[in-house]
């Protein structure tokens, strides 16, 4: 079962490598929207330092939403989703494999791109570890919740418009705690409680989201 799971993840990674532009698109979107904020707000370093946690988190959420739309729908269209579900893996594990691949191809690159963006927005380097730890947990939560949302809207009319409407309200706690942790680190307050709450959210999402996503996938191919 583990081998099958890894094979599904590896297949998705290979697909992402061969369509490199799609993967890079999300990261480019992240950097571009991030650079729009100083242009719109003015280049005052003090203001930007204040807003940097929120800017980075919101841009990361929106960038990670972009490829979610295609997470399952491409497979549903060409029929390979039926094949994936016939592999012998439970649907929830198929969903988890696709979600893992989404995180590896979107969440990880965003994490790397967040460092230069944070420095450009003037966040002090001492807060970078907290930013990265928060984004690490938060991007996993986003992949899990987003994967659930993507499987639910599978086959809907205007699924691409529906997806953010469903995912963004559910993801608000991660945004609140993630941005609060960076803010706490910047002002010298204890940041561990916020990260722990984010971790608790992730711990709840890991078992529950793939279950719901699996149910969504099964309903989509019925």
């Amino acid at each position: 079962m583990m081998a099958l799971f890894c094979a599904v993840v590896a297949r998705d990674l290979r697909l992402a490598l061969r369509h490199g532009a799609d993967t890079l698109g999300a990261v480019l979107f992240f950097i571009l929207t991030g650079t729009l904020f100083p242009l719109a707000l003015g280049p005052s370093p003090d203001l930007l330092r204040h807003m940097a946690p929120g800017i980075i988190w919101v841009c990361a959420l929106l960038a990670a939403l972009l490829p979610l739309d295609r997470l399952f729908s491409a497979e549903l269209e060409d029929g390979s989703l039926d094949q994936l579900l016939l592999l012998g893996l439970p649907p929830s594990l198929v969903a988890l494999a696709k979600i893992t691949a989404h995180w590896l191809t979107t969440g990880l690159p965003l994490l790397l791109a967040a460092v230069p963006l944070a420095i450009m927005l003037g966040l002090p380097p001492s807060t970078l570890p907290v930013l990265l730890a928060g984004l690490l947990l938060g991007s996993m939560v986003l992949s899990l919740v987003g994967g659930m949302g993507a499987s639910i809207v599978l086959g809907a009319r205007r699924g691409g418009v529906l997806l953010p409407l469903l995912v963004l309200p559910l993801i608000t706690p991660a945004l609140i705690f993630g941005a609060a942790a960076i803010d706490a680190a910047r002002t010298g307050l204890p940041w561990a409680p916020d990260l722990e709450l984010l971790g608790a959210f992730l711990a709840a999402a890991i078992p529950l989201c793939p279950l719901a996503a699996g149910a969504g996938l099964r309903a989509a191919v019925e």
């Binding site: 809207v153 809907a156 529906l162 963004l168 559910l170 608000t172 309903a219």
Partner: protein, 266 residues
């Protein structure tokens, strides 16, 4: 044999008694007046008492009277979503057809009452807090609940096959139910602007009984009204699907083709 499947099966059989649309329509027609008229009377009595005869608050003055609309709306906003979650369980576990139809109808009613809760809260906040809106934990979590309602409404109508929409929306309703405890406990976890609960199950209410009684009446009236509207809409939906299946039944279509054939022959 373990006990669980028989229990599940037995509960399912109980619920499925009313899956029969004819039986549901008969029961609904009998229930409807018992919900509608008490709802109207209690709401009018509660609001009339609250707005005209109950005392003004010593601190807040007359603006406290918004409470008689705001509190019932807030309770029903959460209760309505809890109802959606119950319908989701009924639909996913027992594939109950009425639960699906009820979920379609609860969504818009719940979204309206959540909007009413947000609007009255905003009107109350302006004179008391000096601002229409603050990003307080209670306010934000109710706003998220409103978005969850909107997502549910959009999702359940987004599929060409209604069964797919029911199933997807049921999964979403269960996932969104995590917001309910956050709303409930937000005033205790984050001690910000919104006041904590005045009425609890265990303690004595921190409110004078001259305000508690009209509040209880209007809450009961609003709840019955919510139930009455949902029941009426569900009955209408059942009748609508009956009419649609009658209109598109093969026999009728056969009749129609026969008539055209005869017409052609003539």
């Amino acid at each position: 044999m373990s006990a669980t499947p028989t229990l599940v099966a037995r509960t399912g059989a109980f619920f499925h008694r009313y899956a029969n649309p004819g039986r549901f329509l008969k029961l609904g027609a009998r229930l409807q007046p018992w919900l509608t008229w008490p709802a109207l009377l209690l709401t009018l009595a509660g609001l009339g008492w609250g707005l005209f005869f109950s005392p003004a608050d010593w601190q807040q003055g007359d603006s406290v009277r918004i409470m008689y609309v705001h509190v019932p709306a807030a309770m029903l906003a959460s209760a309505g979503y809890a109802g959606l979650a119950v319908c989701a369980v009924l639909s996913l576990v027992w594939r109950h057809p009425l639960a699906d139809l009820a979920a379609v109808e609860i969504g818009p009613v719940g979204a309206c009452i959540t909007a009413l809760c947000l609007a009255t809260g905003s009107l109350w906040g302006k004179p008391m807090w000096g601002t229409w809106w603050v990003w307080d934990a209670r306010l934000t979590s109710v706003l998220v609940l409103f978005f969850l309602y909107l997502g549910h409404i959009a999702l359940i109508r987004a599929f060409d096959d209604p069964q797919r929409g029911y199933k997807a929306a049921a999964i979403l309703a269960l996932a969104g139910a995590v917001d309910l405890p956050v709303i409930k406990f937000s005033v205790q976890w984050w001690n910000t602007l919104h006041q904590p609960d005045s009425i609890t199950l265990t303690g004595a209410p921190t409110m004078s009984s001259s305000m508690l009684w009209p509040l209880a009446l209007s809450t009961l009236g609003f709840s019955l009204g919510f139930a009455a509207i949902v029941l009426a809409r569900t009955r209408a939906a059942v009748m609508e699907s009956r009419i649609r299946s009658l209109l598109s039944s093969p026999r009728r279509r056969a009749d129609a083709t026969q008539t055209t054939l005869q017409g052609d022959a003539a």
